[in-house]
Structures are given as C-alpha cells and as structure tokens.
Symmetry: C2
Subunit: 331 residues, 2 copies
C-alpha cells in the first residue's frame, strides 16, 4: 500500500502491516506492501486481462452491511469480469477510501472477507492504497488475470446461427434487491436466499475458463440479461432473440415472484446476477452443457442469434414482449 | 468502461463513447471500452509493474480545481510510482466516482487533461468504470508498466556506503500547498510557481528508466523526503544520513521561504514533490549525474547510507536536526 499525503496519521503503517500485508503472503510480487508498486512475472504466451470496478457505500452496499460482505462483493464483481473473459485470476489491487479512521474491528472483518475470498478464488492482494475520505466508503478493486494469448472471449464474436446461453439462474439478485428496498418484515427462507444472491454474487471462474474455445462471445450479467446481451448484439452486429420461457429462474424466485410471463420478464431485465451470458455455435451445445457440468454450474440455452440488430425477448407464442424498462434500448 | 447496476442512466454509454473511447485509440487491447475487461499483450522477458492511487475531492484537490488539472494530477501521481521503479508505462485504468451526472463541459475538460498527459507520457487509457456517487468526486487510477524482468528498482537494495540522491527540487509543492491554505492574496510569480508544483507534479519517467542498473533503491517523494527515505531505511535495514544544506530547493522556494536551516527542514519534510529519491553505490555517482542530465532533470547527492537504522537530517556542522514532525519517526 502506498500512502498519499493525506495519510500522515501515526498508525496507518502499522494497520497496513497488521491487516493488509498478510493478504499478500501468496503474492511475492507484492513485496509485503512495502514498495511503491507490485510486480507480476509474466509467462510467455499469456495475455494479461485487467478490469476495475468501484463499489460505493449507499450505492452498491449499505453502511451497516457486514464488512466481510462488502469486501467479498467488491472482489467478486471484479473476478466476474475476468470469468466472463475466460481468464484465470492473478491477483488484485485495492484502493480503499475510508470515511474517517475505521475501528480496527471493522478493518479486521473487512480483511477477513478478503482473506476468505482470496482462497476461494486464488486471487491474492498485490497492492493498493488507503486514503481517508470526507465522503462515503469507496472500495475500488482492479483485478488482473491471464489467458493463453488469443484465447480470451470477447463480446464481438457472436455469429448468426449461434445459440445463446446463460449460466445458473437470473432474477434472484434483482428480486433480492427489491426485498431489501421494501419495509423490513419477517422474511421467508426463499426471500433470504434471493437477498443472499444480491449480496454475494458468485464469479463463474471455473465455467469461464472452460468456455475458451467454445463460446463465440461472452459477458457477465450486471445490468440485466437483455441489456447485457444487447452489448453483445451491438459489438457483434447481430440480432439476439431470447425466449422468455427458457430464461432460467430459481425455485426460490418462482415461489416468491410467481411463474408468469411478467416474472420471467423481470428476471430477464433485473441486474446484479453476475452469471455468464454467452453465445456459441449451435453445434457445440453438447460441449457447452458438459463444460457447465464440469464447472459445477448449470447452463441453459435461452435463444439464438440472427442477422440484424437489437435484442428481443419472445413469449411462448414467439411474439416479441414489449419491455417497460427502455434504458437498455438506447445503449 | 464496464458499468455497474447504479448506472442505468440513458446517456452513459454515449458519454463513454464520446469522451472516453477516444482515449483508447493507441491501446488496441482496450477494445474501444466495449468489453468487460482490457487486454495487454505481454512481451517475453518483461515483468509487469502495477500501482493504484485514489484522489479525492476535498483531500487531494478542490471542488473548483480545473478538471484538466484533476485528471492530469491523478494520472501523474500513479505514473510517478512507475517512474520510481524504473518502469515504462503501458497504460492505465480509470475508476471514476462522479457526484451526480457531470455537465458535459466538465467531462470534456477532464478528458482533455487525460488526452494531453497520455501523449506526454505515452500511457493510454486501457479501461475503467464510471459510477454515480452521493459523495465527493473520487478518481482512482491503476497504472500498468513494464520493466525487463529482474531490473525493477525496489526499496530494499540500499547498502552501507551507498550515496543518497534526489531528483529536481523538494519543498516547492509543500510550500505551494501552504500558500493555497492561506487566505487568498495577490500572489507573486514565485508563489504561483510553487502552487503549480503542488498542482501538477512531473513523473520522472525518463530518469527512472535510466536508473535501472544504477540505483540500489528508489521511491517517489510523496510524504516528504525524510519520511520517504525512512521507508528505504526500514526495508533495506540501513541508516540514512541526509545533509540539510545539500537538500536541493528551487530559486522560487528560496525567495519565498528563505535560505535558513528552518526552510531546508521544511523542504525535507514537506510532501507531494513526486521527485525520485534513491540510493546508488558511491562509485556510480558520475553515471547517476549523467543519467539525470540525459533525462533532463538535475540530480543532487544529499547524503549517505550507514549500517544501522533510521533516517536523520544533519545541519552544516554535522549535528542531527531534531524534527518537529514526528509522524514519520513511528513508521
């Protein structure tokens, strides 16, 4: 951790040594956070994949959220971007803007959350920055990963005739967020499950790696399945057709939101799922399903690619469903 | 630029396309900011150097500071870390937490500042994230660079008998910051120069590269010359002795702050200089001075390394100067 001029508090360096340096134990290039920068040895034939996301108190998490959860979510949304590109994590940098000087119990819990997820996803801390801020807590993580050169999965490779897939289930996180925004009432186990999916996304790293050479285009679902697929549609210059009844939802989602077209539309347009949406040649669908099985995450075929532009959702009768949320239409 | 769930404003993607995508023209791996991540081809035999720093409105810059300047300073403090390690910039990621939605003129000026400095320092935008924040503007930059594997300059290599050097002049930025904090009065040209050094540091990239193979340890001066040298002292496990009269100060600094011991102590303990402080074997001092001349920045020998611990400042008579600012003593 380097330190900026605003951080001349006694104790800062001890806190870094106590809480953050241990997170670098498996990354020799972090030099125990004792240098200006971190170093990463590059293996021949590999390409670096980098992504950054800032999470802000009051926007992406709440003031009273458990610090372990804030830490884990901040890391996971970044690892999810690596997953969607087929990359293997190499580590991450953490820029922490702390409102005042945190009590040590908060910092200890935050670092516990990082420590646990670093092990889960083999992504050690490489370096970072801590600064006091007059504003809300901001956690900015930059994740670094590797792919064999040329094997990364971009958004641009979808072709007419490809099939469209998504991992896991969508809509849970969006339903969880709606529950969190509503007045607090006694919550069912199903509701708790949906809220958990909003709070703690699972980056699909094992699946992403297995999609190299199979998927023609991929991204992670953060804005909403249809809005995100539309990014592929735009960059690949194709038309994407998604069949609403095939959009995979969880049993908890079905019980809480019902099984009608409206709930399926919600699932396809709610965000924060962090599943991988991707396209692959129709002839590879067996290999795709097998890749999912090996990665331990179900993969559902939900539509197809045509010549043209735009992304549409169809009902059981094949009619285009008009979508109320039009934000994505103007992307 | 990926976008998080809070950013479903129509127009965001157009703004990214209009203002940020042009900044990626010389970085093909940025894919025009149309993907989840950026890609960087790695050359065999090179090592990656990464660093991140967050700059916060009200802490590192003021609300009314020119947006070009905020952009440039945010980039430059990160490039300064690369410079101190001897690295050549490869590019940077930008996570921008924007208070509300900025007017386009602000964003245009901010991106002009980035565009200009990208050219100055050959460091193109690789990717990033934009998010609305209820708090102050936060600009988090992650800079990536390369060195030939094994040639990076760390903080840990200083040896007894080494000489201690610093590039340029120190104290200007600290004096400029004090002027900015004082009630605004008509300012002299000298005062303007000092303020300019605070506002717009110059990363010593050309010098840093030339110090590979010469410097035994290096870092950039952000906390203050003595405080920062003490980091080298700690990590290299040596004692650093700095002679106050040899600490280089600018003509403007001398005219504004005077030429007594007190002003020299101020220069050695004020921060935000972003010069390179480094050590090198005494026998290499001619090569060091030549490296400075070739890089276009003067280099001053200011002290030496002994066995022991700690960093001290000596007066003309060789007596240790007691320092009032003790924060760095406890590092």
């Amino acid at each position: 951790m380097t330190n900026s001029s605003s951080d001349r508090r006694p104790g800062e360096f001890q806190l870094i040594a106590k809480y953050f340096a241990p997170l670098t134990e498996s990354s020799p290039g972090a030099l125990g956070l004792s240098d200006d920068a971190a170093f990463l040895a590059l293996r021949p034939g590999e390409e670096l994949v980098v992504t950054t996301d800032a999470l802000i108190e009051g926007v992406h998490f709440l003031h009273d959220d458990p610090p372990e959860m804030i830490a884990a979510k901040s890391l996971r949304v970044n690892l999810s971007d690596l997953a969607a590109k087929g990359a293997t994590p190499a580590g991450y940098l953490l820029a922490l803007c702390l409102p005042g000087w945190p009590d040590e119990s908060w910092l200890a819990a935050f670092c516990d959350g990082l420590a646990s997820d670093q092990k889960n996803f083999a992504a050690p801390l490489l370096g970072g920055d801590t600064t006091a801020t007059p504003g809300p807590l901001v956690v900015t993580i930059t994740a670094l990963g590797f792919v064999p050169a040329g094997s990364a999965i971009h958004r641009s490779g979808a072709q007419p005739g490809d099939a469209v897939f998504v991992s896991g289930t969508v809509g849970d996180a969006g339903a969880g967020l709606e529950l969190l925004k509503a007045p607090v009432v006694a919550r069912s186990a199903d509701e708790g499950e949906l809220i958990g999916r909003y709070r703690m996304p699972v980056p699909r790293l094992a699946l992403g790696r297995r999609l190299r050479g199979l998927a023609s285009a991929a991204l992670d679902v953060s804005d909403g399945l249809i809005a995100d697929l539309n990014h592929i549609s735009e960059v690949s210059r194709v038309r994407i057709v998604v069949d609403a009844p095939r959009v995979p939802v969880s049993p908890a989602f079905l019980r809480v939101r019902g099984n009608d077209l409206q709930s399926r539309v919600f699932a396809a347009t709610a965000g924060d799922d962090y599943e991988i949406a991707f396209t692959a040649p129709a002839g590879k669908r067996d290999a795709v399903v097998q890749a999912g099985a090996r990665a331990g995450v179900p993969v559902s075929e939900i539509g197809h690619i045509e010549a043209g532009s735009g992304t549409i959702l169809r009902d059981e009768q094949g009619r285009e469903v008009p979508l109320e949320r039009t934000g994505w239409v103007h992307l």
